[in-house]
């Protein structure tokens, strides 16, 4: 099976001149789950943004399956984004739609019938411990609850790839562990998972492959079996 995702010598320099990624290469197999860690400003979010086309690399190639993301332009950007579920570091919920409608969005965008979508949204809400908050507006939730809504929205449509940027930054350790278990169960459904996180304790506990970024460079690519040695 070809890799789901491949970075080939990717460089990203922001307009201001700041180099956020330098010669980054790696690949992610179908059904794999892995972490990206690194200090604040190391380039984790930038790496994820290249995958869902919020940013474009200055050099190198990003391949999603057979698809070269450099060549995805215009209307096909939207189609690509529907295949990638994203948990944003700053949640990005629609303030004037209910929790339920926020989570249903990816399904609506894919043209799912309202009834089917509602049933699926309710099941995800239950699973994330938000069953009672479906009709609330995002502004009426605690930060951790908002983060979980963002996670629900990213997973609800069973994307080919899930990229999650610091998905547990606002969650207490128990909830964080539960979310990680949820992510770890996604590969069974055929979803590959890429999680950026600072929470080294959590990362180590999960025993998955870890990419370590340092000032934009890929400093380490640790296999699960080597993790205990670190």
């Amino acid at each position: 099976m070809p890799p789901v995702l491949r970075f080939d010598n990717v460089c990203k320099q922001y307009p201001g001149g700041h180099v956020a990624l330098q010669d980054v290469s790696f690949s992610v197999d179908a059904g794999e789950m892995l972490f990206v860690t690194g200090h604040s400003g190391a380039g984790k979010s930038t790496l994820l943004k290249l995958i869902h086309l919020s940013e474009r690399p200055n050099r190198g190639a990003v391949l999603f399956g057979e698809r070269n993301l450099l060549k995805v332009r215009g209307g096909r950007v939207a189609l690509h984004r529907r295949e990638v579920g994203v948990v944003f570091q700053d949640h990005r919920l629609l303030a004037d739609r209910s929790v339920h409608d926020n989570i249903a969005l990816p399904l609506v965008l894919r043209g799912m019938r309202r009834g089917d979508a509602a049933r699926r949204v309710r099941s995800v809400l239950e699973r994330l411990g938000l069953g009672a908050r479906g009709n609330a507006l995002p502004g009426e939730l605690s930060a951790g609850e908002q983060q979980r809504v963002g996670i629900a929205r990213a997973v609800v449509a069973e994307p080919r790839l899930l990229v999650a940027d610091e998905p547990t930054g606002n969650l207490d350790p128990t909830l964080a562990a539960e979310i990680m278990d949820l992510f770890a169960s996604l590969p069974e459904q055929g979803t590959s998972v890429l999680v950026a996180s600072h929470d080294l304790g959590l990362v180590k506990r999960m025993k998955k492959r870890v990419l370590v970024l340092d000032h934009g460079q890929l400093a380490d690519d640790i296999a699960p079996e080597d993790l205990a040695d670190e």
């Binding site: 869902h52 086309l53 919020s54 940013e55 474009r56 332009r73 215009g74 209307g75 950007v77 939207a78 189609l79 690509h80 984004r81 529907r82 994203v86 944003f88 990005r92 919920l93 629609l94 303030a95 004037d96 969005l105 990816p106 399904l107 609506v108 965008l109 894919r110 043209g111 799912m112 309202r114 089917d116 049933r119 699926r120 099941s123 995800v124 699973r127 411990g129 929205r153 997973v155 609800v156 449509a157 069973e158 539960e178 278990d181 949820l182 169960s185 459904q189």
Partner: protein, 315 residues
């Protein structure tokens, strides 16, 4: 916490019905958005309505003036001054003869006495005219042409009894001056107002979009197509236009009511039964439909601009 999420399979692309669903949803959702903020909606619709009402009102005024001028034009007549020595009986006979001609719509016979009376009124020199010893005026036949005016005038000039066939050239020149002036004013105003209406519609939708920039950005990140993002705004613009068009008609009706009385007075002083005419139902419908389309197009243009702007990845 460990049941699987999946139930219904998520389709890769939209099913055909989804497109229609989203249109229906957008119609209702955009209306809901307007009604949830009644004051700001009223403000926006008010601005648009005033901008629409002004050029429309101007158009109505011009249409009425033209109609009025048309009335006057249609009743423009030829005067045949008969030779001084024409007998009263012959004049009446000639009037009857001419009345039977196909190129003549009607003939009015004005005797010298009647002519003097009219002159008295038109010139305002009543008592000066009373001092005239004898009536120096000839018989006049006032002819309403049925066909071409100039041809008829030429043919009437060949009548042996005709001393003179006359058009009222000075009067016509003056009316034309006013109409030219009115037309120029109308164009200047229409240009200003058309510009105003355009600016208002565009600006309103632009600011509306600007205050929802973030929301649109999120939708784009989730993979919403341009059409999906644009749709609610198109309907929003259409609703604005619809409401503004209806309100503009209402404003014009009120303005018309306020003008009816003084205009009737004025018309009466000219001895005319002229009355202000508003829109026909068909025209009113066209106005509302036009405003709706205008709102839709304005929203489309501005949303399109936004969509082009927020594609930073297209470098």
């Amino acid at each position: 916490m460990n049941e699987p999420i999946a139930r219904a399979k998520v389709p890769a692309r939209s099913r055909p019905g989804a497109w229609l669903d989203h249109h229906a949803y957008s119609v209702v959702a955009s209306l809901g958005r307007l009604l949830r903020r009644p004051w700001s909606t009223a403000l926006t619709v008010g601005v648009m309505a005033v901008a629409l009402a002004l050029p429309l009102g101007l158009w109505l005024v011009l249409a009425n003036v033209e109609r009025f001028a048309g009335d006057v034009q249609a009743s423009r007549q030829l005067s045949i001054f008969l030779k001084q020595d024409t007998a009263d009986a012959r004049a009446a006979e000639l009037a009857a003869e001419l009345g039977r001609r196909a190129d003549i719509g009607g003939v009015e016979h004005r005797s010298p006495a009647q002519g003097l009376e009219e002159l008295r009124e038109r010139s305002g020199l009543d008592e000066a005219i009373d001092m005239l010893g004898e009536n120096p005026l000839p018989h006049v036949l006032i002819v309403t042409p049925a066909g071409d005016e100039a041809l008829l005038a030429d043919s009437l000039r060949t009548l042996p009894e005709a001393e003179l066939v006359q058009h009222d050239a000075g009067w016509r020149q003056r009316l034309d001056g006013w109409l030219r002036f009115g037309g120029r004013v109308a164009w200047v105003l229409a240009a200003l107002l058309g510009l105003g209406a355009l600016l208002v519609v565009g600006n309103t939708v632009r600011l509306d979009i600007q205050s929802r920039r973030e929301e649109l950005g999120v939708l784009q990140l989730l993979g919403a197509s341009d059409g999906f993002i644009r749709r609610p705004f198109l309907y929003l613009g259409a609703w604005y236009g619809l409401a503004a068009g209806a309100l503009a008609l209402g404003l014009l009706a009120v303005a018309g009511a306020a003008l009816r009385l003084p205009l009737a007075d004025l018309a009466a002083s000219y001895g005319s039964g002229f009355a202000l005419q508003g829109f026909t139902p068909r025209q009113a419908l066209a106005v509302v439909a036009g405003a709706t389309v205008l709102g839709w197009l304005g929203a489309g243009a501005v949303t399109g601009h936004f969509l082009r702007q927020t594609r930073p990845t297209e470098t």
